[in-house]
Point group: D2
Chain length 137, copies 4
Amino acid sequence: MGNEIVETTFYVRYAETDQMGIVHHSHYVVWMEEGRSEYMRRNGLDYVAIEQSGLALAVTEVNVRYLAPAHYNERVTVRTRIDSLRSRALTFGYEIINADTRQCLVVGSVKLMLIDRQGQVVSMPDSFQALLKNAGG
Amino acid sequence: MGNEIVETTFYVRYAETDQMGIVHHSHYVVWMEEGRSEYMRRNGLDYVAIEQSGLALAVTEVNVRYLAPAHYNERVTVRTRIDSLRSRALTFGYEIINADTRQCLVVGSVKLMLIDRQGQVVSMPDSFQALLKNAGG
Amino acid sequence: MGNEIVETTFYVRYAETDQMGIVHHSHYVVWMEEGRSEYMRRNGLDYVAIEQSGLALAVTEVNVRYLAPAHYNERVTVRTRIDSLRSRALTFGYEIINADTRQCLVVGSVKLMLIDRQGQVVSMPDSFQALLKNAGG
Amino acid sequence: MGNEIVETTFYVRYAETDQMGIVHHSHYVVWMEEGRSEYMRRNGLDYVAIEQSGLALAVTEVNVRYLAPAHYNERVTVRTRIDSLRSRALTFGYEIINADTRQCLVVGSVKLMLIDRQGQVVSMPDSFQALLKNAGG
């Protein structure tokens, strides 16, 4: 595991703004999730198949610090990395930046656990860990 | 079936506004769905049990007309009725009003079909139709 | 005006699904708005500047028909065109398709009016109409 | 300031679920905001007027721990308190519980700063602090 950072870039949607004229703070949580999706896609981790096998990555903790606001029509980049991987918990770290100015807007982390259909925490399978470790190189 | 109207009232959430300073138009679609939930709760239709039995009401059509905007912190009332019930389709009609002034903000309709786990349309069970018909009186 | 179709493609986000295992029907309304944003960007219409000048495009009508569901991690393409442009109303037409299979998932239309800071409907400026007409060619 | 806890209770909306069959983790952030709105309404703090005067409470930090999931059609209660009030920062603390079983689902905190129209941090006015302190007893 290590220092691989996966980037995904998209436009801010109008629906993501609020009456303060900036992106509502809840949407960065969704963007961080999309950062995880991109991280898994790039590293060959098929999350759809994981869910079909009866497992799921459940979010157990979210921490976000807001440094500067994003606005409608700006392009933002979510930079996603793995901060920690244990047998029972996986933590992603994030920077969300303005894609054009590279200004840092938000930093955050999200901790997840692998659960089965009964909601019980299970150890991450070796294959799963290996993939993530390879990802990190 | 007929003219029963079920009302549900709640405050506009800040997150539902956009940078125009009004509620984003997509949220009225969510409010209409919450109107359906309340309609079913009041009439003893247990939608959670319906889904557990392997069926689901899938939305096939949404039509909304926006007459006046709702704003943060206002109380809105969703007025929900059944406009049409056939063996294979159910259409709800809606008025969303300001709960205090009674001004009409939005009118709309949502058409649903009952589908099974394979996504195939199935006829609505008699019990289901009966409940809805009773509801309408 | 005419038949220009602007496409924008993105992945379905996990947060856009609901417990039916498909994209919640309200999110297509947001996607159609993002289609409008892309349409304006491609045609040099600066919507941010329009709002800064005190005008806004307010949604007055939304109509959506759902033909097939989108799922998490699929790539969808929003195909946006102008269906009608009058001095006081602008209607966009949409097809949302699976970007890989090209299956049509949703068709819809959204009607907008240009309003000023008091919420009064105003005629679309010539420059605005010209740009859109050029777009349609 | 102190230990006043303001409660607000509502049904989980279908749109708030995701394909894991539970409420998507981003929505608790919206619910906490609605808890703040209720806290201010109960204590006579008119946030709409605050924004009209050119000020706004901007979120600078969000921390959430997820203990158990909420599901569609359940009633949840957001319990909101003020954890800390300084001249330049206000922190709300939250518990979100199942309204019927009183099981704790989520705990969290949100830190806000008062900013002016230029986005500069300003000290909270005495009246504002007094109201909040009265609220807390």
